[in-house]
């Protein structure tokens, strides 16, 4: 399990782990809980150019569809094939095995701290 305080967050309920020039992206436990059981993910393939703020994927639960926003500009270097096969990983371990994308980013935008994100979701 990743240490939550080491992560950065977006107001769209994503977390970002920055290591060098690569950002690992997932959705927060709060978002996963709100969605309910996740049953399908549509993620961009490696090599896809993504623009921060644009919709790059979809996360479907039994009852609803959430859109995945790119938190950074960059190029997808890897998508998590394991969560496409087993979407429940996003519910069971959203900050760990349930990660979604690794992106080689060009510039890191301003992101939220854990305290700021928790304030956003009212915790």
């Amino acid at each position: 399990m990743t240490d939550q305080s080491e992560l950065r967050y977006t107001s769209e309920h994503e977390w970002v782990l920055v290591e060098g020039t690569v950002a690992t992206i997932g959705i927060t436990a709060y978002a996963a809980a709100q969605l309910g059981d996740i049953v399908y993910l549509d993620l961009p393939a490696a090599g896809t150019q993504i623009a921060g703020g644009s919709v790059v994927g979809e996360i479907e639960s039994t009852k609803s569809v959430g859109e995945l926003f790119a938190p950074v500009d960059g190029t997808v270097v890897e998508k998590n094939a394991a969560v496409e096969d087993a979407p429940e990983l996003v519910n069971s371990d959203p900050l760990g095995a349930g990660w979604l994308l690794k992106v080689e980013f060009t510039e890191l935008p301003e992101l939220l701290s854990l305290a700021e994100y928790n304030a956003l979701i009212g915790e």
Partner: protein, 393 residues
């Protein structure tokens, strides 16, 4: 990610019907504190704060299919009809022949507008020689109350809205009978022989309980109508008795996927004021043998020949077609020939299922169609309902 509003859940999809209640303070079930303690996620359903799920809607769904689930349906609307002409009144007001049901029998029926559209679908129980209980959707409480009040004029019968003095707990799943039989304080003589769509009087700690073998899940199960003051104790006793059987509290999200698999219509999705019964596959509900009932002339005339018909849709893969997605004859067609009314990845079957209205020319089972899923066309084919049928023992 952009979270869908929780309004994206089953429950809120009926939110479109609840415009009059949006300014009112939320209403709470007599079991609300129990749900909060159990960690439920809530949603607005017809002005009520009801549990969507407790932990996992998939786990709750599977529990009902394989063991037993416990639902709070206290938001539903209940009306008592009593008097010498109670049966005659219901025969006039509703589409079915309610005078023909026996004491202890339940019947699915429709409340039609004079123009033939559906005001609500409901279940009617005969609780006495001249006593009936009418159970309606929470979202249609007001229109049902208004229509029944208007139609009772001239009949020697009394209509009483008992929604606020009725809590409803459903125990659904293949082992539901064993759980009720093991529930401390609960006594219902004849439970072991109670048939589907029948009800008996039982007691819980000496207080009256109407025990019905009905449900909205496609599984064997029971619905317990109790006084709200009794609801918490009944819930706790059933939960305790079910612990050894794997009982879980189940929310409205699982209730929606369960009824969808069972091919059961949901008002606001498959049924509306613009829908004739025959379009929804409910052509046998109106009792045309009756001399007169509200909506009879319109039903007899029927909808236009090209009026859309309800079908089931199935697909391979895992992407669900959801309510309001347009349907096309093929991947390149630009004019929709239908619309999805409910859809999900079926938890039991593992593939997408949906209910939809399509132009009659495309309703034949096995017809290949194309659904626009947020900009991507995916192949679906029509099928008969239900998608899932329990094995009868």
């Amino acid at each position: 990610m952009l979270l869908p509003p929780l309004a994206g859940t089953a429950c809120d999809e009926t939110g479109e019907l609840m415009t009059e209640s949006t300014d009112s303070p939320p209403r709470y079930s007599p079991l609300h504190a129990v749900h909060v303690a159990a960690g439920a996620t809530f949603t607005d359903f017809a002005g009520w704060q009801m549990p969507v799920r407790y932990s996992s809607d998939l786990a709750e769904h599977h529990a009902v299919r394989t063991a037993v689930g416990l639902f709070d349906l206290s938001h539903m609307a209940e009306f008592e009809v009593s008097g010498p002409e109670a049966a005659a009144f219901l025969d006039h007001a509703l589409a079915g022949l309610l005078s023909a049901i026996e004491l202890g029998q339940a019947k699915y029926s429709l409340l039609l507008a004079p123009e033939g559209g559906i005001i609500d679908d409901l279940v009617v129980y005969r609780t006495g020689d001249s006593d009936f209980l009418v159970v309606a959707n929470a979202s249609n409480h007001d229109p049902v109350a208004a229509a029944l009040t208007e139609r009772i004029g001239g009949f020697d019968a009394v209509l009483r809205d008992v929604s606020d003095e009725t809590a409803l707990i459903a125990v659904q799943g293949p082992v539901s009978r064993s759980v009720l039989e093991a529930t401390a304080g609960f006594d219902a003589p004849g439970l072991d022989e109670l048939r589907y769509y029948r009800a008996i009087e039982g007691t819980f700690r000496g207080e009256r309980v109407l025990v019905a073998r009905t449900g909205y899940t496609g599984e064997d199960g029971f619905e317990l109508y109790v006084h709200p003051d009794l609801a918490e104790a009944v819930w706790a006793a059933v939960a305790k008795a079910g612990a050894d059987h794997g009982i879980v509290p189940a929310g409205l999200a699982s209730r929606d996927t369960l009824r969808l698999e069972a091919g059961m219509p949901l008002y606001g999705h498959e049924l509306s004021l613009e829908t004739f019964p025959v379009q929804a596959g409910l052509g046998r509900v109106p009792a045309m043998a009756k001399a007169a009932f509200v909506g009879r002339a319109a039903v007899e005339q029927g909808p236009a020949a090209d009026a859309p018909a309800l079908v089931g849709l199935v697909a391979d893969g895992r992407r669900a077609a959801r309510a309001d997605y347009p349907i096309y004859a093929d991947d390149t067609a630009t004019e929709p020939i239908g619309i999805v009314t409910s859809g999900a990845l079926s938890p039991t079957l593992g593939h997408p299922i949906a209910m939809a209205y399509v132009t009659p020319a495309f309703a034949e089972p096995g017809t290949e169609l194309s659904v626009d899923i947020r900009g991507t066309r995916l192949a679906f084919r029509t099928t008969t309902l239900p998608f899932y049928r329990r094995k009868k023992d």
